[in-house]
Every structure is written in structure tokens, then in C-alpha cells.
């Protein structure tokens, strides 16, 4: 059916069906921040009333429009974003309808935004739910939520589209030029990527929500070759929900020469060897460990088995809340969808739940988990923490982690320099490297991007071949130093994969500098 309609419209100009980027046109025609006057209100009500007519007990419709824009320069050549030998831009728009019928979810999505398609996709989602009921063993239970009509957007100082392509390329080219001047450098890649997301969610429970999100993630990587060894070094820039100001504030140019020299030095750096060492982790490295062995095992859908076939379950049990010691007394972890700049900072989740900030670990003890409307009841809670998201209009929403931060130490905590000065035999680790964790997030092996020996309170030479092994609870129990809020920084990832079909999430993870005592290093290379 879809195919035939598609053929009929080919060559037809001005046909209302499949008007050009209809979502974009409708956005342009809808007053921002007045969700009840938006043209999407009428289209949403059509889906919601159709779902009601078909016997659904819950329905929502989510329109989204994503614009992904990226530029990359490698060895003075503007390279591709999408495999075309060019820079590129992608716009994607459409809608997804989610219903509950017979106590079971159904979901369908389409890029064709017309009244007819909205009815058709709503009916298809309902049919999917009805078909699924044949294998139902429990019914979906949703925690209640208040109905909101609201508009929310990320604060942006400079929209990326307002900066010319010439300026973006010139900036990235300067990084290339500076890096390639350093002897031993054989390759440099610099890039900046921008993601704009607009979405409108309407639910059968009375919420109408419009949101605009900008995300910016720049960076560069230098590869050096010396003595037959090739090593890369990446300058860690925190991706943020913000505009072009992230690029301007990242101090990339100021750091090119240092990063290039470190790449060269890494090629001849001696192996760290195998043994117990104290680890000092910068926030740019700690984000990875926080992501993998704090944030993931505290996702309630994993805890109760929803990811058992792919991303895995968790060593945490629902009965552990309030009891399990996850780390030392210095270990305080907070989930936060409200902090400005966080990649997961939003006004509302895709269930229409208002964003929140809540503790999950206090003085080492697990006190709460990440929940959404569907899972809150598993730990006896009557309200969702707002963790439901879908990557795009195509995808069904499910539980995704928020920004998960390790809190800085209290006033009087040591500075990074003081932590180094207080370490007799340790390794300082910066940036992201190899990482692998078991399916319950208990046995992790992590690498980094650069490593330095710390001997008798001094940062001495670079090292190579560093990985460390972490058994999650033991690892955080060995946390014995956290720096204060002055050195707390937020980093993050743009590629957190979970779900089937796999979807991508973009969480931020803030951290102070931390020290972990006596951890096994180098076993991977033994």
C-alpha cells in the first residue's frame, strides 16, 4: 500500500501528501512554545482518538525532526560524514505511535506525516499490540504522571547553523596544520558534529509537550608512528547540550601541540608491567568507568531482566536498594536530567515525565535506581524518575540512563596536584580507551588514552600497555580520594548502545579527580 502511494506521488508537485519535509513545514507554521495552538495538536488528537476508538487503554504519538550536521578534516582533507567523500547533512523527520491494547505494547512509525498515515500507523500499532497479546504473561503497568502542556529548550548561545561552513573548516584545518608540524605525526583527524532535535509528544493522559535540543561534540585525534609502533592520542572535549560555544570554549587549538607530542611519546613509552598500583583518574577517563559500572547496573529494566538477551542484566537486585554497599564512604552518585549542558538534560522524557535530579548512591550505599513509568513498580515506587527515551521518531521508547555524576568531595578535599603528591606508586590515566564489561557489569577491564607513571608524589614519564581490572564493588570500595568541586568536570559519550533494535543514547558523566587504591594493572598484556 505504502509503495503504491509512493509511486503515485512521484512527479506530483504541490500534492498535500508527502509535502516537502512536512514536519519541518508544520514546525514553521506552529507558534513555538504554544503547544495547544501547534498544528501538531490536531494531528496528535487524531491519533489519540483513533487509538481510543480501537480500544487502546493508553496511546501516545511523538513527532520528531533531527538534523545532523558534521564536518571532519583528516590530513588537511575535508572528509566524509556519510561515506560520500564530502561533508554532509542529514535531516530526518517522522512520527511514532505507541499504544497499549490488551495489556501489551504496540508500536509503529513512519516518515509520512499525513492524516491518513497517522490513522494507518495508529491502527498498525494497535494490531501489533493485539497480536502480541497471544504470548502475554504479564500486563504493562504504568506509574501515574501529571498531565503537562509545556515547551522546553536547551539554552544556546550560538546556533551551529549560524556559523559558516568556511569558518568551521578553517578551524579544523588549523588543528590539522598544527599537528602535522610535529615530527612523528602521520595522521590527524579533527571534527565537529552537531545534532538538533525537535520533538512534540502528546499522550492520551493529556500531556502536550514540545522540546528543542542542540548537542555539540567536537574533538581531534593525532596518530604518530615511531620505532615501528603507531599510537593515537585524542583530545577529550566534553560533548554538551549546547551550541557552537562548545567548540569555541574547548581550547582545542591551544592543546594540539601537547597532544601531538604525547602521541609521539606514547610510541616509545615503556610498558607499565603487571601489578597492583594506585590509579589516579581524570574526569575525562572516569566518565567511562562511571558509565559502565555505575550507570548501567543501576538501570532498573536491566535489573529485572528486560536486557537479558542483549545488553545484559545487572549484579544489582531490587532488594539491594537501601542495603548494598557499592563503594567507600567517599562515593556519592547522582542522576540528573536538569544540569545545564548535560547531554541527557531535557524538560520531559518520552513518557511525559518531568525531569528530575535524584541520588542513587550515598556514602557508598545504593539508595535508588533509574526508573521509568513501566518499571517503577518493581521497586515499590509510585512515580517514574523519567528515564524513557527513543533515539528518533522511528524507534520505540524504553529506559535509558540519565546524566550520572560522581559528586565532588566536600570543601577541603585535595586538589588533583595534592592527590598526585600523596601517591607513592601509581598511574595517572586520562581519556577513553579500550573497555569491556561482563553482562552483569561486575568484571570490567578498562584502558585509557594516555598514561603516566606517578612515583613518590611526582608525575614522571608516559607509560604504555595499561589496562586495569575492576570488580565493580571492590573497585569503588578502594576509592580513597576525590578532589573538590573546583576540578569537577563533565564528560560523556555520544554512543551508548542498548535495546533491540539497538538505539543510541548520549549521557554525560561528571566527576572529580579520583584515586583508587591498589588495582591490578596490565594483566591484559601479560
Amino acid at each position: 500500500m505504502l509503495r503504491r502511494e509512493f509511486v503515485k506521488t512521484l512527479g506530483a508537485t504541490g500534492v498535500a501528501l508527502y509535502a516537502s519535509d512536512l514536519v519541518g513545514d508544520l514546525i514553521a507554521q506552529s507558534p513555538k512554545a504554544r503547544v495547544m495552538e501547534s498544528r501538531f495538536k490536531g494531528l496528535s488528537d487524531l491519533a489519540l482518538s483513533e487509538a481510543r476508538r480501537l480500544g487502546c487503554t493508553y496511546a501516545d504519538i511523538r513527532f520528531t525532526r533531527n538534523v545532523n550536521d558534521s564536518v571532519a578534516v583528516r590530513d588537511r582533507i575535508v572528509t566524509d560524514s556519510f561515506g560520500f567523500g564530502a561533508g554532509g547533512m542529514e535531516t530526518s523527520a517522522g512520527f511514532g505511535v505507541r499504544v497499549i491494547h490488551s495489556g501489551v505494547w504496540g508500536f509503529a512509525s513512519s516518515p509520512f506525516v499525513t492524516e491518513g498515515d497517522i490513522k494507518k500507523i495508529t491502527a498498525q500499532a494497535t494490531e501489533v499490540a493485539k497480536a502480541s497479546a497471544v504470548s502475554k504473561r504479564f500486563e504493562v503497568k504504568l506509574a501515574p504522571v501529571e498531565a503537562y502542556q509545556d515547551y522546553w529548550s536547551v539554552p544556546v548561545q550560538q546556533k551551529p547553523e549560524d556559523v559558516s561552513l568556511d569558518d568551521k573548516i578553517a578551524f579544523l584545518m588549523k588543528i590539522n596544520e598544527a599537528a602535522l608540524k610535529v615530527p612523528g605525526v602521520i595522521r590527524v583527524q579533527s571534527n565537529m558534529a552537531f545534532d538538533y532535535e525537535w520533538k512534540y509528544l502528546a499522550t492520551s493522559e493529556g500531556s502536550y509537550l514540545e522540546q528543542e535540543i542542540w548537542r555539540t561534540s567536537p574533538g581531534f585525534t593525532v596518530t604518530a608512528l615511531k620505532n615501528g609502533k603507531a599510537k593515537s592520542r585524542t583530545f577529550s572535549v566534553a560533548p554538551k547540550s549546547a551550541g557552537y560555544e562548545v567548540v569555541l570554549n574547548a581550547k582545542m587549538l591551544e592543546n594540539v601541540e601537547r597532544i601531538a607530542n604525547e602521541a609521539v611519546e606514547h610510541c616509545t613509552a615503556p610498558p607499565a608491567g603487571v601489578g597492583l598500583k594506585d590509579l589516579i583518574m581524570t574526569p575525562a577517563h572516569a566518565m567511562l568507568t562511571i558509565h559502565e559500572i555505575v550507570a548501567h547496573p543501576t538501570e532498573l529494566d536491566r535489573v529485572v531482566g528486560y536486557e537479558a538477551n542483549y545488553a545484559g542484566t545487572s549484579f544489582v537486585k531490587t532488594s539491594d536498594v537501601g542495603k548494598l554497599m557499592m563503594g567507600s564512604k567517599l562515593f556519592n552518585v547522582t542522576c540528573d536530567r536538569t544540569l545545564e549542558g548535560g547531554m541527557c538534560t531535557v524538560g520531559y522524557d518520552d513518557d511525559g515525565v518531568k525531569s528530575q535530579r535524584w541520588p542513587i548512591i550515598r556514602e557508598g550505599r545504593l539508595v535508588d535506581l533509574q526508573t521509568n513509568r513501566e518499571t517503577a513498580h518493581y521497586i515499590g515506587q509510585t512515580a517514574s524518575k523519567g528515564c524513557t527515551f527513543a533515539t528518533s521518531w522511528r524507534n520505540y521508547p524504553f529506559l535509558r540512563m540519565p546524566n550520572v555524576h560522581v559528586e565532588p568531595g566536600p570543601p577541603g578535599s585535595p586538589t588533583p596536584e595534592e592527590i598526585i603528591a600523596d601517591t607513592r606508586d601509581g598511574i595517572l590515566i586520562d581519556g577513553r580507551g579500550s573497555y569491556s564489561i561482563d553482562q552483569q557489569r561486575f568484571n570490567g577491564q578498562f584502558g585509557g588514552d594516555a598514561f603516566w607513571e606517578v612515583k613518590n608524589g611526582k608525575k614522571t614519564r608516559m607509560l604504555s600497555d595499561v589496562t586495569y581490572n575492576a570488580i565493580t564493588t571492590d573497585f569503588w570500595q578502594n576509592l580513597d580520594a576525590t578532589s573538590g568541586k573546583e576540578s569537577w568536570e563533565m564528560f560523556g559519550t555520544t554512543g551508548d548502545a542498548k535495546g533491540q533494535p539497538v538505539q543510541i543514547n548520549h549521557p554525560s558523566h561528571g566527576s572529580p579527580w579520583v584515586r583508587i587504591r591498589r588495582i591490578m594493572v596490565g594483566a591484559a598484556f601479560s
Binding site: 582533507i77 497471544v134 504479564f138 538477551n309 552483569q440 533491540q500 533494535p501
Partner: protein, 451 residues
């Protein structure tokens, strides 16, 4: 419903006619992706996603840019073309941009979209789940699984007159069974099947459930070097770790395991692996449904990468081939991958093992050192100790740190090849023909009590 050849030709012709650039390339991708997911023996997501997109690339000399639209009416296409043409004019020259591929290209014809897969709907998938979870209930385990289905078209055209079209449809059934006491887990699956009749959900459920039951309450044993028997799924994941190293540019630039001693040299022609390791891309293989269309529209051709341990070919992309005065390979090293197998069944491998491990699944494999292909990963969903030719019981999972560059010199037995997905997830093409493998001296570095 997927799009026909004529429909794709219409849209690509239209874009080519509307563009005013020196050269144009259009790529179409679209169709239906559906999936059913279940956990704790009940469906948690059942969905249908429709999508279509056209990527338009225009060139002015050595300047190029691309943009994507999901709408194909005249206004949308014109808007996208205007934007991408303006973008391309402002781009600096790209000296690595190759001329468009010219016709004729002779693509192998084969039917990769059988009706049984094309018509595989949510009700049929739900019935499959019901049949599976009923068995789980009888056996006292919890089933968590995934049934993805694709009905998809990839097409392309360029202003030199090239046109490509490839329609494929397939489905998979993968399942993890867990015991309610959370001490046992087992995996089974059939992936990338063109004919749904080849998915036997009940058989797979019995395999996964029995494995979960047998793997309950594993005991810890010491890390160390073990003889391992990799069932086809972990074997496929392990095999995939070396395909990227077959890139000629990386090798010649000194950045790869295949690099030679001096910069510019490679290990082409060297015996790098054992006699029993042979790897090739078999375009048109009757079981694999991967595309016959190679890089930029070149006709993919069958190619032997490694023969009896000797590196026979590296992948030359069009730019690097031109620069090095070679023919472009066309076929990328992950296309229609076939590893030569043997005749030893897993049961026979167990019988011939004095002390070793039977591995059901590898998880979270990540590179540790690109120059040596050192990787790390975990075992999962059923790890069993073998002593004196028999499975003596389940053991706790291990983290391993090992390189296929070492292991593929240590193959002591190979099973018959079976189709198996090589990727971590199951949402992209990537099914290869892979045998179960028995590998000697495989390095297990630490224990994980996680189940």
C-alpha cells in the same frame, strides 16, 4: 512493502535530471524493519518501522557534498538538491575523491527476498514467542529473545549511467534462557535466514533452556591458558576481529597488524596463520544474502583473503588502489565471508579434549592493541569445563585477552560451517559461514561470577 527496481529507477532518474552539478550520485535505502522482543517470557516490544531515504551527492570538480532527505516529492528533492549544490561549491577540493564508477558493472543476480521472510508479520512472530515461552515454562526457565525482520532495498545511480538495486529480506531468532535462581543462562539462535522455514524456535528454545539448566551454580576455576571449543556464535564474533586488518592502506601506512617491517611494506604473501585457516568472500553464496554490489557500485567478486594461512589479498579501496597503481578490490573484507570448516562435530571436539572449555557465547569484545590484534572479551550464557573427553560441569565466566593472530595459528579442529551473525547486535547485515573451532592455548585472564 519493499520498493521495486522500477520504482527506485524512477526516483533516482528524477534526482539525476534535477541536479545541475558536474557529477551526481544518488543512493536509496528503505523498507520495513520490524522486530519482536521478549523478556521474562512475555513480549516487551513488538514494532514495525517504515522508512526510506535518499542521499544525494553532487560534485563540482574535486568538490563534493551530500545531503539526505526522507521525502521524495518535487519540492523536497529540489530543496535538498539546492542545499547540497550550494554546499558543494563552498567545499575545498578533496584530492582523494575518485571519479564515479562507470557502467557496465556485471552484478551477480540472486534472489535475496523470499516471500516467507517478506511476509513475516507481528502475529507470526508472536506465535513463535508463545511456542518458545511455553517450552520455557515447562522447563522452568525464563526466556528473553529477539526476532528481527528486514524487508529492505538498497539502490543507487550516478550520472555516469550506473544503476544498482538489491532487495533482501531476512529474519533471526535469538534467545537467552535464564534459570529463576539467576545462576544459569543459555543461548541459542539462528541468524540472517532468508527462508523463515529454517527457523526452528522450539528446537532453539530447547537448546537454550537445557544449556541454562546445565549451567546452574557454576564453580570457579583458575584463570590460565585453556583449550577452548568455540561454538559457531563466539567463533563468528572472534573471526570478525581480524577482517579490518585486511585493509591495504592501513597496512602500508604502518598502522595495522598487516603492516610490514618497513613503512610501505605489508605482510601480503606471508604465512601469518596456520595451515587450516582459509578465509574468503564468496559473492553469490547460496546461503548468505549479502549484496553483490561492492564499493561505490563496483561489482563485487569472490576473493580469497587468506589461503592455508598465507595472506593472499588485501583490500584496496578505489583511491588507494589508484595511488598504488593496483586494481580496486571492490569486495570489502566483511562481504559474504566464508571461513573454511572441517568435519569435526562439537561433540567430537569435546571427546578429543583432555582439559578445556566449551564456550557458548562471547560478549563485549573490544580491541586492546590494534598492532597485535589483542582483544578482550567475556564468556557468557554457558561455559563448561571439559575433562578427559567429557563435560564435567559449568564453570564461572572468564574474561579473556587474546589475539586471533595467535589463535588462528592454534586451530586444532574445525566443524562444518553454519551461517552466523558476526556483529555484536543483529540489526545490520553481517552473517557469515563460520565453523565451530577448537583453539589451543587461549588466554583466560580473570574470573567473573556474573551469570
Amino acid at each position: 512493502m519493499a520498493y521495486s527496481r522500477d520504482e527506485i529507477k524512477q526516483i533516482t532518474d528524477k534526482v539525476l535530471n534535477m541536479c545541475k552539478a558536474d557529477a551526481v550520485e544518488v543512493r536509496f535505502s528503505g523498507g520495513e524493519r520490524s522486530a519482536t522482543r521478549f523478556a521474562n517470557s512475555s513480549i516487551t516490544a513488538n514494532l514495525i518501522e517504515h522508512d526510506q531515504e535518499v542521499q544525494i551527492t553532487v560534485r563540482y570538480g574535486q568538490k563534493a557534498a551530500s545531503a539526505t532527505t526522507h521525502q521524495f516529492d518535487d519540492d523536497s528533492l529540489k530543496r535538498t538538491i539546492d542545499a547540497v549544490q550550494a554546499l558543494a561549491r563552498r567545499k575545498p577540493d578533496n584530492p582523494e575523491l575518485m571519479p564515479l564508477v562507470k557502467p557496465p558493472q556485471t552484478y551477480l543476480e540472486f534472489d535475496a527476498a523470499l516471500p516467507s521472510a517478506v511476509n513475516f508479520g507481528p502475529a507470526e512472530r508472536a506465535r513463535m514467542v508463545k511456542a518458545s515461552t511455553d517450552i520455557c515454562e515447562k522447563k522452568g526457565v525464563l526466556g528473553a529473545g529477539y526476532i528481527p525482520k528486514f524487508d529492505w532495498v538498497d539502490g543507487s545511480a550516478n550520472s555516469e549511467g550506473l544503476f544498482t538495486y538489491f532487495h533482501y529480506a531476512d529474519a533471526s531468532f535469538i534467545l537467552t534462557c535464564r534459570t529463576p535462581d539467576q545462576t544459569g543462562s543459555g543461548w541459542a539462535g539462528t541468524t540472517g535466514v532468508k527462508d523463515i522455514k529454517n527457523i526452528d524456535a522450539e528446537m532453539l528454545t530447547n537448546v537454550a533452556a537445557d544449556k541454562a539448566i546445565k549451567s546452574r551454580k557454576p564453580r570457579a576455576i583458575e584463570p590460565g591458558n585453556y583449550t577452548v571449543i568455540l561454538e559457531p556464535r563466539p567463533a563468528a564474533r572472534y573471526l570478525s576481529l581480524m577482517t579490518n586488518s585486511l585493509n591495504a592502506r592501513n597496512a602500508e601506512e604502518g598502522r595495522s597488524f598487516m603492516s610490514g617491517k618497513q613503512r610501505g611494506e605489508t605482510r601480503l604473501g606471508e604465512k601469518v596463520f596456520g595451515d587450516n585457516f582459509t578465509l574468503r568472500s564468496e559473492i553469490g553464496n547460496p546461503i548468505l544474502r549479502q549484496s553483490p554490489i561492492g564499493q561505490d557500485g563496483l561489482a563485487a567478486r569472490s576473493i580469497t583473503w587468506v589461503e592455508k594461512g598465507v595472506v593472499k589479498n588485501l583490500f584496496y579501496d578505489r583511491f588507494w588502489a589508484n595511488r598504488q597503481k593496483k586494481d580496486p578490490t571492490g569486495t570489502t573484507p566483511n562481504m559474504s565471508l566464508v571461513m573454511e570448516g572441517g568435519t569435526t562435530s562439537v561433540e567430537e571436539m569435546i571427546k578429543s579434549t583432555k582439559r578445556g572449555l566449551l564456550v557458548s557465547f562471547f560478549w563485549y569484545i573490544r580491541p586492546v592493541d590494534q598492532m597485535t590484534l589483542l582483544n578482550t572479551g567475556m564468556t557468557r550464557d554457558g561455559l563448561f569445563l571439559i575433562e578427559n573427553g567429557e563435560i564435567v560441569g559449568p564453570v564461572q565466566n572468564f574474561r579473556w585477552n587474546e589475539s586471533p593472530a595467535v589463535s588462528f595459528n592454534n586451530i586444532s579442529a574445525l566443524g562444518p560451517q553454519v551461517p552466523m551473525h558476526t556483529g555484536e547486535a543483529y540489526d545490520n547485515p553481517g552473517t557469515a559461514l563460520v565453523p565451530a573451532m577448537k583453539l589451543e592455548d587461549f588466554t583466560m585472564t580473570s574470573i567473573s561470577p556474573a551469570v
